[in-house]
């Protein structure tokens, strides 16, 4: 890495030089030097750019198809943080974990540092000139060979100008159009939607629905535009009394399913029958269907009848399909019919205002047939960009063998993934944060993509490479674009100036050129393909909510526990506890899943949220290449599948029959879960909707329902009530008297008038864990689970996650997932509780520290002084919330084997936050760096802080807007109002810690039949 650092050193000098040029600003907007064009932000004019002060670039996230708007914060020419773009119509300021982790793709230590060619099996670095030369030569050979028509270009599905640009280039070269591939896109729904509405993805209005029914549609994990759907869903739930009830139908209760009020565990494969029954019910006919469907789905008929009636009465409702079996397209059709019948179209389903992000994707079947052609040796040249078919298609599809038959393969990928490893020439592409581009997110909204920084490595934008190839030999003519950026600007309505202005927000109205729509794929078969495989279990493969298809090489995502199983750095097989008991499978016992395509082995995780005859696995791990963080971690469930497709050509990942047997050996589950039950301690509390308005009295008790001496649970938030930072107990004063706090109101710092506090609305929180990754990004939290960090964790296997097995994960904010109610029945409830430092008014951790390394600041923060800490760890022992984390190894020390940020991953580190050394305690600081920055800015501008002027990293990212941060002592801040909510409570109130974090109880919506409050007390 040394050469790159040196190289970047040079780059940074250039950057500073450019900073000096004041008049460069105007020039750069236009067709100035490309370096400058990349580097000068469009929010501020260059002469205002100060080293050490962040500049912000509005750009577009390319981690998934949705195309959210992000704002990249850069410091001295390095992107250090991604945040949602508040003005963006899709994500409205929120951002998911995968979006956050784009930075770790940018700085990934295993990225290709430059072009390389494979000479007799060995990779060799070459110069760009040689590489392009070689590329052109092979390209010409392929074209001259008369088999130009068989050349295949696989491009990851994206909207915007590039697909058009690419097809233009291909046609110019006389090559067929490219294939836009997205392995985890729901092609079945897209196909059905095209039929029904003429658009791929109508926008969904959860807030207007009275009832939401989802057939496996995991709109909170990975189905559709997750962030957008999550925002809408949370807003709908925030309507409390008027919020829609949510029923989830499916063989596996996903993260989305855990957020449902009712889960109907239908047998896998019976979704179509159930959907038809509901359709009949909505149309007001067909009791028989219900009985039959119930019988097929192995659920009580009255449940379906009740749901049918509910669906018929609740108007409008919202019914979604995300089934991934061979019947996917048919279910999607029936579901659309239900929506039609229930009159949801136009109300909760709005084809008029569709999401454009999902237009133009080719079905996996297309990719399948391309692979077929390769296997037949008919493809002379393959070009791959951002697609990894070797990993994302079942092993039984023999993609690797097929690639072997292709004479020359060019990868425009910047990561050493399985496909790139098999290619002959690698022309590494820029990371989206380094390149120009745009995305069509709404029919008339284009989200622009601009480089946030100078390229990290010797990579080159694919579009520029293609341009160079196309223009090779021909003299540069005036007006012809020199690179993709000028091509974009050239096509931009209003030209450079308008482009520059648009870049400020990263948004512009209008449309990008569409690729010529290909004729819809003919029906594969009149009847759905048969279910593959045999065995007494149905196998469900679902894309991991945190990893997606290609997140495995990003340590943040690997370390982010799965929202459902809370397992990280590992693959697992979900099996129902009863089935497990029958087969004598304990958690961690390795089980072998034998499917139609082969077998896959992974430790068992006993999950009550499964239909009894089902096993499930998450897709995303099990790479055989793809860098140090992904290689040999976990297993790939696709290994067990056969390359089957549904009628829309979507890969049928679910429903195939498998045999499951105990493999005999045991692997400890890398889980962050201690006890999955709350033991009546009232950590995550809830009340039923009919209990609202009763002052929050939910009948829930904490700690066994006894009134414990010193129990403060009836005090209305004492720690926050005071006008100044009065934490309940002042200097030997009466706890009831809160007008005076521990600090003199006239404290010299003037900070004593504030009381920083936070509310977390459990009715909104969906457990998606985006806040966790946001915290990792903002606060330089090390990841500790990588295999190379496990070497000195004694007494454990040196595999990935060894430190997590010792529960040494450092997540300052963690998402606790508690089961409530009877796990044996499908009606068990889930409580998601984001748990972070509660910044107690009377913090138990403070007095026990022998060296004042933690103390209480006048504005109510529980401060941790890293360089004063000697590491007695007494504070953690005395913390009831267990939110303090210790640096067991030198995660921040470059010369230690546990170093968490191998070059250039350390470029992402936030310069405002210390990297903690070995042997010190750390914890959530309420993003004190952001607080102080805002305060200083206000002071510099000679004003007071404006209420809600800023917020902390977790709150900023939260896609369900569950977290609110602010000054509880000032009425004008939102948080000050929220803490008076009837649902407000402190965790462990009886300890008189007077926390600054206030939780708002979750609200449950019992089924109309079961009128009794289903809000089981924290049992």
């Amino acid at each position: 890495m040394s050469d790159t650092t040196q190289q970047t050193g040079v780059r940074r000098r250039e950057f500073l030089k450019i900073l000096g040029v004041t008049s460069a600003g105007a020039a750069t907007v236009g067709c100035g030097p490309s370096e400058a064009g990349r580097l000068i932000p469009y929010l501020v004019s260059p002469d205002q750019t100060v080293p050490g002060v962040s500049t912000y670039f509005a750009t577009t996230c390319r981690e998934c198809a949705a195309g959210c708007g992000v704002i990249a914060e850069t410091r001295d020419g390095r992107a250090i943080k991604l945040e949602g773009n508040p003005e963006h119509p899709i994500n409205r300021g929120a951002i998911c974990a995968r979006g956050q982790a784009a930075l770790q793709g940018l700085y990934n230590p295993d990225r290709f540092t430059g072009p390389r060619v494979k000479r007799n099996g060995q990779w060799a670095d070459i110069t760009w000139a040689e590489a392009v030369q070689l590329f052109r030569q092979r390209l010409d050979e392929a074209r001259s060979g008369g088999r130009a028509g068989d050349v295949v270009f696989l491009n990851r599905h994206e909207t915007g100008s590039f697909p058009f640009f690419l097809d233009q280039w291909l046609s110019q070269m006389g090559l067929p159009p490219h294939l836009a591939v997205d392995p985890i896109l729901d092609h079945a729904v897209i196909a059905a939607n095209r039929e029904a509405y003429g658009v791929a993805w109508p926008s969904l209005s959860f807030a207007d629905a009275r009832l939401i029914v989802s057939f496996d549609a995991d709109f909170l994990d990975s189905w559709g535009a997750t962030v957008a759907h999550q925002l809408d869903f949370a807003d709908a739930r925030a309507k409390l009394r008027d919020a829609p009830r949510f029923v989830y139908i499916g063989a596996r209760r996903s993260l989305t399913g855990l957020n449902a009020d009712e889960w109907i565990p239908v047998r896998s494969g019976s979704e179509l029958a159930v959907a038809n029954a509901l359709l009949a019910a909505v149309r007001g006919a067909g009791r028989a269907d219900v009985a039959a469907a119930a019988q097929a789905a192995d659920v009580p008929a009255e449940t379906l009848q009740r749901l049918g009636a509910e669906l018929a009465s609740a108007r409008p409702s919202l019914v979604l399909s995300g089934v991934t079996t061979v019947q996917a397209r048919d279910v999607a059709r029936v579901v659309n019919a239900i929506n039609q019948a229930a009159g949801n179209v136009g109300r909760t389903i709005r084809p008029a205002e569709p999401l454009s992000s999902f237009e133009g994707a080719e079905s996996m079947a297309e990719l399948g047939s391309a692979v077929e052609r390769m296997r037949d040796g008919r493809v002379p040249l393959l070009m791959v960009r951002g697609v990894n078919p070797v990993f994302t298609m079942p092993k039984s599809a023999q993609v690797a063998e097929a690639l072997g038959r292709v004479p020359f393969k060019v990868a425009f990928t910047s990561y050493p993934d399985e496909t790139a490893e098999l290619c002959d020439l690698v022309l590494p592409d820029h990371h989206p944060l380094e390149s120009w581009g745009d995305a069509q997110v709404l029919p008339n909204v284009v989200s622009l993509q601009q480089p946030a920084m100078d390229p990290v490595f010797r990579t080159r934008a694919t579009a520029d490479v293609l341009l160079e190839v196309a223009m090779a030999g021909t003299p540069p003519a005036p007006g012809r674009p020199v690179d993709y950026r000028s091509w974009l600007i050239g096509r931009f309505p209003g030209g450079a100036a308008a482009f520059a202005t648009a870049l400020a927000t990263g948004l512009t109205s209008g449309t990008t050129p569409r690729v010529t729509p290909r004729a819809p794929r003919p029906e594969a078969a009149p009847t759905p393909a048969p279910v593959e495989g045999e065995g007494d279990f149905a196998f469900i493969v679902y894309p991991s909510p945190v990893l997606g298809a290609d997140g495995a090489n990003k340590p943040w995502l690997q370390e982010l526990p799965d929202p459902v199983s809370k397992i990280c750095w590992q693959s697992w097989v979900e099996i129902h506890p009863e089935s497990a008991a029958r087969m004598d499978i304990q958690p961690g016992d390795v089980v072998e899943v034998q499917g139609p395509g082969g077998t896959v082995r992974a430790p068992a995780y006993l999950y009550p949220g499964l239909q009894r005859e089902t096993v499930a696995m998450a897709f995303g791990r099990g790479h055989t290449a793809y860098g140090r963080f992904a290689k040999d971690v976990g297993a790939n469930p696709l290994d067990a599948l056969s390359p089957g497709f549904d009628r829309a050509g979507m890969a049928a990942w679910s429903g195939s029959r498998v045999r499951v047997r105990k493999a005999g050996d045991y692997v400890q589950l890398v889980t962050t879960e201690g006890s999955a039950r709350q033991h009546g301690r009232g950590i995550g509390r809830a009340l039923a909707v009919n209990e609202l308005g009763r002052g929050g009295a939910s009948g829930e008790e904490h700690a066994g329902g006894h009134v414990i001496p010193g129990d403060a649970s009836h005090e209305p938030l004492p720690g926050l009530r005071a006008p100044i930072a009065a934490d309940a107990e002042g200097d030997l004063r009466d706890p009831k008297k809160n007008e005076v706090g521990m600090y003199d109101p006239a404290h010299p710092t003037g900070m004593a008038k504030r009381r920083w506090a936070m509310t977390i609305d459990l009715a909104r929180c969906t457990g998606c864990s985006a806040c966790v990754t946001a915290c990792y990004a903002e606060n330089n939290i090390p990841t500790v689970g990588a295999a190379y960090q496990s070497g000195h964790t004694q007494g454990l296997p040196k595999t990935a996650g060894a430190n997590i097995l010792r529960s040494r994960e450092m997540a300052w904010i963690r998402l606790e997932r508690y089961w409530e109610g009877d796990e044996a029945s499908p009606d068990f409830e889930t409580r998601f509780v984001p748990m972070l430092c509660q910044h107690c008014g009377n913090a138990p951790c403070e007095p026990v520290c022998p060296v004042f390394a933690t103390y209480h600041s006048p504005d109510g923060l529980n401060v941790q002084v890293y360089n004063r800490c000697v590491g007695t760890r007494y504070c953690s022992n005395n913390c009831p919330y267990k939110v303090r984390y210790f640096n067991w190894f030198g995660y921040g020390e470059t010369d230690r084997p546990q170093y968490a940020w191998p070059e250039p991953l350390n470029w992402q580190l936030n310069p405002d936050v210390t990297v903690r050394g070995k042997g010190v305690m750390e914890k959530c600081t309420f993003c004190v760096q952001r607080i102080r920055e805002a305060e200083n800015r206000a002071r510099a501008e000679g004003r007071e802080l404006v209420p809600d002027e800023f917020t902390v990293a977790c709150a900023q990212a939260c896609p369900s807007r569950a977290i609110v941060f602010g000054d509880a002592a000032d009425e004008q801040w939102t948080v000050a109002r929220q803490v008076r909510d009837e649902r407000a409570y402190h965790v462990f109130e009886e300890l008189n810690t007077f926390t600054a974090v206030v939780y708002l109880k979750k609200v449950t919506y019992p089924a109309p039949a079961a009128a009794a409050p289903a809000a089981a007390g924290g049992e």
């Binding site: 934490d727 309940a728 107990e729 002042g730 200097d731 030997l732 521990m742 600090y743 008014g841 009377n842 913090a843 138990p844 951790c845 403070e846 007095p847 520290c849 004042f852 933690t854 103390y855 209480h856 007077f994």
Partner: protein, 166 residues
């Protein structure tokens, strides 16, 4: 410094000798005994040891200092922890006590050294290694004209050896 040293085997003879010597006002008497015996204290009739004063003063100083350091530092560097009062005298009793014991004990030892004339650098005159084993010794520091008398008294009382030293 000169005098007569008598070595005794038996306790009672040594005690008798002391009584006799004191009646004879022979001179200043130093008794050596392998182990402390009350008989000698009675015979010599010394007052109580003054070490106790050192102990008292040391203890008082220690307690004061213990409280003072804790309270002064808290006030000097006022940091709020856990909503507790800045100087909390109750827990500071620990320091008052511990430092009292520390200073008190050390000053006791110091007092012992001071009044017992320790450490003693030379022990030429008027001592015999036997005194740390089994024998008792009486060293009478007296002018030459008295030595004869002292010697006689010692021998009468059964000294196994009497010698004049200077």
């Amino acid at each position: 410094m000169r005098g007569v040293l008598g070595v005794f085997r038996e306790l009672d003879s040594a005690v008798d000798a002391i009584t006799a010597l004191r009646q004879a006002k022979a001179g200043s008497i130093t008794v050596y005994t392998p182990t402390p015996r009350h008989e000698f204290e009675h015979a010599l009739a010394h007052g109580p040891s003054v070490v106790r004063r050192f102990t008292l003063i040391g203890g008082l100083l220690g307690a004061t200092f213990g409280y003072w350091i804790a309270i002064w530092i808290s006030e000097y560097w006022p940091m709020v922890v856990g909503g507790k009062p800045i100087p909390s005298w109750v827990p500071y009793t620990v320091f008052g006590f511990e430092v009292m014991v520390l200073v008190g004990a050390l000053s006791t030892v110091f007092g012992l050294f001071a009044v017992a004339r320790l450490p003693r650098l030379m022990m030429t005159v008027g001592y015999d290694p036997r005194f740390t084993e089994g024998d008792y010794g009486i060293w009478v520091e007296c002018p030459p004209d008295r030595e004869a008398k002292v010697t006689e008294v010692l021998q009468q009382n059964g000294a196994v050896e009497v010698r004049r030293e200077r």
